[in-house]
Amino acid sequence: MRRPASSGDFLSGLALAALGTYVVVEAHGWTYMGEDGPGPGFFPTWYGSIMVLLSLALVVRSLRAPAGAPASPVRWREVGRALMTWAAFVACIALMNWIGFAVSFALLTWFLITVLARKRQRVAIPLAIAGAVLFQVVFSVLLQVNLPNGVFF
C-alpha cells in the first residue's frame, strides 16, 4: 500500500468511518420505521451510512493522490504548543470548582503569558491578577452572573 500523501486525510477519514459505523450500529437498536412514520433510527441510519461512504472515499482519495504532492510537514513542536495550551485550559476548568473561577483563571493567564509567550514575571503576574479581578468584578458583581465558587471565593 502506498503511503498516503496526506496522512491527515487518511486518519481522519478512518476516524469518521468508525464514527459512522458506530452511529449505524446504534441506530440498528432503535425503530427504523414505526407505524406513525420514521422512528428514531431512521435519520441516524442515513447520515451514519453516508458518513461511512464519504469518509471511505476520503481515505481512498488520500491513498491515490500522487505521492509527489508535498504535504506540508507537520510541525510537531507547534502542535505541542497548541495541545499544551488546551491542557492548561482543561486544568483551569477542572480546578474551577475547587479554587474558584478567579484563582484558576489567574493561573491560566499566568501560564499562557509565562510559558507560551515567554514574557517576564513582572508582566505575567500583574496581568494574571488584573484579568481575574476584572472578570470577577464585571461578571460576578456587576452582572450577577453565576461563576464557579470554590473553597476560597
Binding site: 491527515g8 486525510d9 481522519s12 469518521l16 464514527l19 459512522g20 452511529v23 446504534e26 432503535w30 425503530t31 414505526g34 406513525d36 412514520g37 420514521p38 422512528g39 428514531p40 431512521f42 435519520f43 441516524p44 447520515y47 451514519g48 453516508i50 458518513m51 464519504l54 469518509s55 472515499a57 476520503l58 482519495r61 510541525r75 507547534e78 502542535v79 504548543r81 497548541a82 495550551t85 488546551w86 485550559f89 482543561v90 483551569c92 476548568i93 474551577m96 470548582n97 473561577f101 483563571f105 491560566l108 493567564t109 499562557l112 503569558i113 507560551l116 509567550a117 514574557k119 496581568l127 484579568g131 472578570f135 461578571f139 452582572l143 450577577q144 452572573v145 453565576n146 461563576l147 464557579p148
Partner: protein
C-alpha cells in the same frame, strides 16, 4: 390614512421623556448583553421582569423590546474581533467578519454590521407595522412540510460553505447532524447517543459547540507559532474605520437580502434567527459576482447575516403580537411579560391595545436610530481592542468563553464540553475541515428531522404532503443549489478543454 394617525399617536406615546428613557436604557443594555458572549437577551429579560412590575407597561415593554433587538446589534462585536459569537445568530458573522478583522478591516466590518442592522431593523419595523395581521395568517400556512423543505434548502447551502473540499464539508455537516440528534427523541422518548450521561439527555446546547469550535479552536490554532503573529494593523482615523463608499455599493443587494429574508423567516415561529442568518448568507454568496471571496473577508458576508438577524426581530413580533405565538425563547419571555402585565397578545391585540402596539412600533424606529448613533462611534473604541497583545487576548477569549457557557446552565459538564469542542475545532483546522458546515448541520439537524416526522405523521405516511406548492418549490431550490458545484466543475472542465485547444 388610519394607519398614519395610529402611528402618530404611537410616536406621542413613545416620545414622552419616560418612554424615551426606557428606550435608551433598553437599547444600551441590549447592546452590552449582545457584546458579551453567552449572556443572552432571554436571560436578561427574565431577570428584569420582577423590576418591571413597578413600571408602566408601555414603558417596560419598550425597554424589554429594546434589549431584544439591541442585543442583535452588539452580537457582531466579538464575532468580528475575536471569532467568539456574541449571540447565537452572530455565528455566521464570524465567518467573514473575523477574516476581515485579521486583514485589518475590523472597523469597516463593525461599521457595516451596525449599518446593515439599522437598515434591516428599520425595514422589519415598517413591515411589522404594515403587514402584520395578513402576514400572520399567511405564516400559519407554514407547517411541518414547509419547514422541512426550508431546512433541506438550508442544508443544501453547505455547498456554498464548502471551500476547497466538498467531501470534507459534507463530512463536517454530517457530524453536525449527529451532534444535533444527541438527546431524548420527542416522539418516542428514546434516548439517543447520550453515553449514559444525564446531562446529555436534553442534547448539547448549540452555543457551547459554536464557541468551542470557533473561538477556542481559533486560539489553539493561533498559539502554534513561537513568535507572536504580526500585529494586525489598526488604521487611524474614523474615516478608515468605517465602510467606504465602495463597500456600501457592494452591499446593496445584501441590505435587501438581509431585510427581506430575515423578516420573512422571523414571521415563521418554527424558524429562528440563526437559520435566517445562514440562509441570507447563502443567498448572498449564491448571487454574488465574486463568491470566492466569501469566507475570506467579503463585507457582504457580514452585511447579509447581520441585517437578517435584525429584521428577524421585527418578523418575530408578528406571530407574537397578532397570534400570541412566540417563535423563540426570547419572544416567549416577552409573551410571559405581557401576560403578567395583564395584556393578552392575540388576534384582537392591535385593536384592543393600540397605544401599546403603536407605541412599541414607534419606539422601535427610535431605538434603531439610537442604536446606529450608539454603535458607530463605538466602532473606533472596539477596534482598539485589536491593539492589545495576543497573549492578553487569548486568556481573555478563554475566560469569556467559559463565563459565557457557564452563565447559561451553571454546569461544569458544559465547560468540559466546551474544552472538548475546542479541541475538535483545533483538529478541524489542522485537518482542513471547514467548521461552518458543522454548525449548519447542528442548527438544522434536529428541526429538520422533527419536521419530516411530523409531516409524515400528518399525512399518515404519504410523501405527497411534501409536494404542496411551498415545500415543492423549496425542495427544487435545494436541488438546484446542490447542482451548483457540479455546474461549476463542468464549467471549469470546459474552460480547461478550451484552453488546451487554443494552446
Amino acid at each position: 390614512m388610519e394607519m398614519l394617525s395610529s402611528l402618530i399617536h404611537g410616536f406621542e406615546v413613545a416620545t414622552t421623556p419616560a418612554a424615551l428613557g426606557m428606550c435608551v436604557l433598553g437599547v444600551v443594555l441590549g447592546t452590552v448583553i449582545g457584546v458579551l458572549p453567552g449572556l443572552g437577551p432571554s436571560a436578561t429579560i427574565a431577570m428584569l421582569l420582577p423590576l418591571t412590575f413597578k413600571l408602566d407597561p408601555a414603558g417596560a415593554m419598550i425597554m424589554l423590546a429594546g434589549i431584544y433587538y439591541g442585543a442583535k446589534y452588539g452580537g457582531s462585536t466579538t464575532s468580528i474581533l475575536l471569532n467568539v459569537p456574541g449571540e447565537n445568530s452572530s455565528i455566521v458573522t464570524c465567518i467573514d467578519g473575523y477574516q476581515m478583522a485579521r486583514k485589518g478591516r475590523a472597523g469597516p466590518a463593525l461599521g457595516m454590521a451596525a449599518i446593515a442592522s439599522f437598515i434591516a431593523g428599520t425595514f422589519g419595523v415598517v413591515a411589522l407595522m404594515l403587514v402584520a395581521p395578513p402576514l400572520a395568517q399567511l405564516s400559519l400556512a407554514f407547517s411541518s412540510p414547509e419547514y422541512f423543505a426550508l431546512m433541506v434548502m438550508g442544508l443544501a447551502m453547505v455547498v456554498l460553505l464548502a471551500g476547497d473540499s466538498l467531501v470534507k464539508a459534507l463530512l463536517a455537516m454530517l457530524v453536525g447532524l449527529w451532534i444535533s440528534s444527541i438527546g431524548t427523541d420527542l416522539f418516542t422518548a428514546t434516548t439517543r447517543f447520550a453515553f449514559g450521561q444525564v446531562e446529555l439527555l436534553g442534547g448539547i446546547e448549540f452555543i457551547i459547540v459554536a464557541i468551542g469550535v470557533f473561538a477556542v479552536g481559533e486560539v489553539l490554532g493561533n498559539v502554534e507559532p513561537d513568535e507572536p503573529p504580526t500585529m494586525i494593523p489598526v488604521p487611524k482615523g474614523l474615516r478608515n474605520l468605517l465602510p467606504t463608499r465602495e463597500d456600501m455599493k457592494r452591499c446593496r443587494f445584501a441590505f435587501v437580502n438581509g431585510s427581506v429574508v430575515g423578516f420573512l423567516i422571523g414571521c415563521l415561529p418554527g424558524a429562528g434567527s440563526t437559520i435566517a442568518s445562514f440562509i441570507s448568507y447563502g443567498i448572498e454568496k449564491a448571487f454574488s459576482r465574486h463568491p470566492e471571496e466569501f469566507g475570506h473577508g467579503a463585507i457582504e458576508g457580514v452585511a447579509a447575516p447581520e441585517g437578517s438577524n435584525n429584521a428577524e426581530t421585527g418578523g418575530a413580533l408578528v406571530p407574537l403580537l397578532t397570534l400570541g405565538i412566540p417563535g423563540s425563547s426570547t419572544t416567549a419571555i416577552l409573551l410571559a411579560a405581557l401576560i403578567l402585565w395583564g395584556f393578552k397578545p392575540g388576534p384582537l391585540f392591535i385593536q384592543d391595545q393600540p397605544a401599546l402596539f403603536w407605541g412599541l412600533v414607534a419606539s422601535m424606529y427610535i431605538g434603531n436610530v439610537l442604536l446606529l448613533i450608539l454603535n458607530l462611534p463605538m466602532v473606533a473604541v472596539f477596534a482598539q481592542l485589536l491593539r492589545v497583545p495576543a497573549y492578553v487576548i487569548y486568556p481573555l477569549i478563554f475566560g469569556v468563553s467559559a463565563v459565557g457557557v457557564y452563565s447559561e446552565s451553571s454546569s461544569m459538564f458544559d465547560l468540559g464540553l466546551l474544552a472538548l469542542f475546542g479541541l475538535l475545532g483545533y483538529a478541524m483546522r489542522k485537518l482542513h475541515y471547514p467548521s461552518a458546515p458543522l454548525v449548519l448541520g447542528l442548527v438544522l439537524g434536529a428541526p429538520m428531522e422533527r419536521a419530516l416526522r411530523q409531516s409524515l405523521m400528518m399525512s399518515q405516511g404519504s410523501l405527497s404532503i411534501l409536494f404542496r406548492p411551498i415545500p415543492a418549490s423549496l425542495l427544487v431550490a435545494a436541488a438546484l443549489l446542490l447542482l451548483i458545484p457540479l455546474i461549476r466543475r463542468l464549467n471549469a472542465a470546459r474552460l480547461q478543454v478550451l484552453d488546451r485547444e487554443e494552446a
